[in-house]
Symmetry: C2
Subunit: 341 residues, 2 copies
Amino acid sequence: MEEKVRVVVDAMGGDNAPGEIIKGAVQAVNGRENICVILTGYQDVIEKELAKYTYPKDRIEIVPTTMVIETAEPPVAAIRSKKDSSIVAGLTMVRRGEADAFVSAGSSGAVLVGGQAIVGRIKGIERPALAPLIPTKDGVALLIDCGANVDARASHLVQFARMGSIYMENVVGIPKPRVGIVNIGAEEEKGNALVKETFPLLKQCPDMNFIGSVEARDIPAGACDVIVCEAFVGNVILKLYEGVGATLIGKIKGSMMQSLKTKIGALLVKGALKDTLKSFDATEYGGAPLLGLKGLVVKTHGSSKAKEVEHSIYQCVQFKEQRINEKILEHIRTEDKQQEN
Amino acid sequence: MEEKVRVVVDAMGGDNAPGEIIKGAVQAVNGRENICVILTGYQDVIEKELAKYTYPKDRIEIVPTTMVIETAEPPVAAIRSKKDSSIVAGLTMVRRGEADAFVSAGSSGAVLVGGQAIVGRIKGIERPALAPLIPTKDGVALLIDCGANVDARASHLVQFARMGSIYMENVVGIPKPRVGIVNIGAEEEKGNALVKETFPLLKQCPDMNFIGSVEARDIPAGACDVIVCEAFVGNVILKLYEGVGATLIGKIKGSMMQSLKTKIGALLVKGALKDTLKSFDATEYGGAPLLGLKGLVVKTHGSSKAKEVEHSIYQCVQFKEQRINEKILEHIRTEDKQQEN
């Protein structure tokens, strides 16, 4: 058992739980040898779902819990009061070292708050960051931070840049990822107080491929691999991406239903169009890691289906195998030494 | 002449100047009786362009200038040193009351800086705001502020909301425009320090239809008519709108060129698709007014063609006829009285 990566999966979280979540877990253990999944949630519900599939029994465990945190619940209170929930139980296993990672499609707030409160930060990390992958013209970029903690300081942003860079290089496999800071112009003197303070600090980091400011217009075209910003701006970017995409696609589909002629045309382009739109769909790229914690916590979309859950589990494997947290720690130590000199 | 609206147009600003700018000016005077256009720029160049068209000679004047501010020039220095430029001359005419409005597709920075420095703020307005119209699913929304002044205060945002509301009601013709503040969640307790401070102030404004927080995801679907945010966030929204749209459309076009089958399909849907994409193109909606100044200053896209220039001139007419600045002044007086009580 020693070499296997142990991933706890919240069987109760998300719009498609438990069916799609459990299906994704089964696909992951069937897909790769080195994975063990622990499902947290209502035992009877999980057993009933698992009975539908064939899989190596010794690589899926159930940790029964009796409570579920709903999306609408205030996170802090929920984490405190619902000790026997699928989320709290999962995070506790990571803290105790009984599992390497936790994946949930449930309440974002509860996962973020619980991740910090239960798993805890890596020593030296001032603030963990939620870092989803977003689609670009020919690939993906990491948007860091989109978490719940707004009004960040410059030192937070520098740590986000470093953690994001390590993640993109080692988990996504982009050599020397280009790090950019979100700004309202390309020049160094542009920006708000936070960006102006952060910019020279990023320029001084020899271990990072900092390329300067990136304007929001250039993000979808793939201007950089790690997009650094504070959480309020990150949230706006993430959600506007979804919103503009959805509205535009809706309008395009509508325009193709206008007449018999366009309907025939639509039939002919349908397949190609579908593939294109899929490649620009954020849900295709697994979950968002909460970086900077003592273990890995991954938040997948509320609307996650089996495939996203499966990919998120593989992400956890990559994270463990690439020793991401050890690399983050090394960098923090280098940082400390630089400051001492 | 008294009842005519006098609009100064910068003949030298923008990627398509002077040709498209002058064509737009001619279209505007030919389109409506009550418009006089004053063109600022190189006299010989303007005369040569004007010679191509038929129009009422008494309704287009030339004010010759000998300098041009380039887009790349630092705005403050350019406004100070290039007194005889098309931008400074135009803004000076507005300040002196020789014209009602100024339209430019030239340097955004110079127009913003010059607007404040030369035309000046309405007494009581703490900060002017640049407020472009952005396309939504079934219409448009006003995004206020996208200007050059970042790190706004709550009192600025309240004034932006009020000016934006007046503009949308009287110039765009939306009764009781829904005002929303950009936030990272729908609940009142969500947000950064600025949003948390501004939210209750907006709630207390009886003269405004404040609907609360709006998430970036819901902006393209048309969740509100006036989108209030500080300039850094506004800039990110505006530019990401363009960026996601452009990348997605590029990918869709690419997917339709994949095979003979998709190419035939593309021919059939082409017309309908083009109309749809046009309706979602920000450049279709005229220029962005710089609200809060003693006269109207409109910044149109650098890539403006004749149609956008023409529409921007009509916007100026509407602005004057609807007495927007008088209405803004009335509201500020009411605000002052409320604070006194």
